[in-house]
């Protein structure tokens, strides 16, 4: 074994990313809990987590940049560092998603609790499970597990579309519930994006482990086929 210091630095980078992953996962769970019980003190915790996530994002990017510049990594090491940089950005967005949900909770503080036709806790559970599974695949360098995350995204997308229809109907027919319905819609949108970020993380794990780029499979194929319809990306911007 040579380059011991370099490989130790890669381990440190992975550990740091896992700390950030833990914070992001916790932030999204807390944000949903805050929504469920309308507790602003939990929103404060989410804000603190989000700040810690942002700080870690900068540290991880810097550490990755240093390794690229100083160590000239190759093959699986190069793919690992590229994957870390991208997963880092996705986790930061997951943190943003949690913050966005907690902001909705603050907005709803003075509103009456409404019984809306949308199962946000279930959608949150699906999105959180995707994040957890994608990160587990990262921890275990398991491309098959990462692959299984990709198919879960369809269920969250489908719930988000159904929520749009039912909440739009609430806004049209029960105007007094429109503010609550609008906030619920935005929470659904945030969760759908969290699921997209989990998908991105899973794709990055596959790239790291297998060297295969599985992104945009559907949309790129459609583009190549010269489809007249604009391809719809499954990913968050």
């Amino acid at each position: 074994m040579t380059r011991i210091r370099f490989h130790r630095s890669l381990d440190d980078l992975k550990e740091k990313l896992l700390v950030m992953a833990g914070l992001a996962e916790q932030a999204i769970q807390r944000a949903i809990e805050a929504y469920r019980v309308r507790d602003l003190s939990i929103c404060d915790l989410v804000s603190r987590s989000e700040m810690a996530i942002n700080r870690l994002e900068r540290e991880i990017d810097q550490a990755a940049l240093d390794l690229l510049a100083m160590e000239q990594p190759m093959a699986i090491d190069l793919r690992f560092i590229l994957a870390v940089i991208k997963i880092n950005a996705d986790l930061e967005r997951v943190g943003d998603g949690a913050k966005s949900i907690s902001d909705r909770v603050r907005t709803m503080d003075n509103m009456a609790i409404a019984d809306l036709p949308v199962d946000i806790p279930r959608m949150a559970s699906l999105a959180s499970n995707m994040v957890r599974k994608a990160l587990q695949a990262f921890i275990e360098a398991d491309a098959e597990m990462a692959q299984s995350v990709l198919s879960l995204d369809d269920a969250v997308d489908s719930m988000n579309r159904a929520a749009h229809v039912s909440l739009a109907n609430v806004m049209a027919t029960q105007c007094h519930l429109a503010p609550q319905a609008l906030n619920a819609l935005m929470v659904c949108r945030s969760l759908e994006r969290v699921a997209d970020h989990a998908t991105n993380i899973a794709e990055d794990v596959i790239f790291w482990v297998k060297g295969a780029d599985v992104r945009h499979k559907g949309s790129v194929d459609a583009d190549v086929a010269g489809s007249l319809e604009a391809p719809v990306s499954r990913h968050a911007n």
Partner: protein, 252 residues
């Protein structure tokens, strides 16, 4: 123009030491092909087999076939003929110290009996331009000895000397390992320029250098060719775990 090289079932020995074992490798024409691997893996022996230099050692032996273009160099050609078609640049620049820059560059031609002054002038200028040295030495061609140049300039002069006999293949055995980063960059730029006209095979320990200059890369280990593929594939996602372990420093 460069020609392709087809190596088939190549084996080489130093005495009883079987240094190359069943090498099969197609070197594409007008491309740079890099050979990497740990010290003693056989990559230098391999390039020495491509111009029949291996057999200059009395205890050395070669079997198998090396076709350069249409010619099997072990069956259809003399060593002298082969070395006219296949130029070689070594790790350390090896100028003839008592000769001027001019005489260094055209020494191969003179050895082959060329005496036409005008033609020699043209070849020297063309070769020095090709090796990106002309502008630095054109005023001192016959005044300065080759040994008075800097290490990087000497190496480019040796490249010019190899090019002067108009080879089709250029073998480079760690051509920049004794040079500073600026001279190394000049040699790499040169390889990039020259591969449109010559087939280049470069042995290097510097993997970034292989990645920068070569389209194809072969990884040697213990006398065997473990993997040969596009340089991009070798350095981003090699097929063989031994290649990956070597290039990521997990080997040894």
């Amino acid at each position: 123009m460069g020609v392709g090289i087809e190596v088939t079932n190549l084996n080489a020995w130093y005495g009883t030491n079987h240094t190359l074992q069943d090498i099969n490798l197609p070197v594409p024409a007008n491309h740079a092909t890099a050979l990497i691997g740990p010290s003693g893996c056989g990559k230098s022996t391999f390039v020495r087999c491509l111009n029949r230099m291996h057999e200059t050692n009395p205890v050395a032996r070669v079997t198998g076939s090396v076709r350069i273009g249409d010619q099997d160099i072990y069956a259809d050609a003399s060593p002298v003929e082969v070395r006219r078609r296949v130029g070689m640049v070594f790790q350390r620049p090896n100028p003839f110290p008592t000769m001027s820059i001019y005489d260094n560059v055209c020494s191969g031609l003179k050895l082959n009996g060329f005496r036409n002054r005008k033609m020699l002038d043209e070849v020297v200028e063309r070769s020095l331009r090709q090796s990106a040295l002309w502008d630095e030495v054109k005023d001192d061609l016959k005044k300065k000895s080759g040994a008075s140049l800097s290490g990087g300039q000497q190496q480019r002069m040796c490249i010019a000397r190899a090019l002067a006999v108009d080879p089709e293949v250029l073998l480079m055995d760690e051509p920049a390992s004794a040079l500073d980063p600026v001279s190394t960059s000049k040699i790499e730029d040169l390889i990039f320029e020259l591969k449109s006209q010559y087939t280049i095979v470069i042995v290097t320990h510097n993997m970034q250098q292989a990645a920068r200059v070569a389209e194809k890369t072969g990884f040697f280990l213990n006398g065997r060719l473990v993997e040969f593929d596009s340089t991009h594939k070798i350095f981003t996602n090699p097929s063989d775990k031994r290649t990956e372990d070597y290039i990521t420093g997990r080997f040894g």
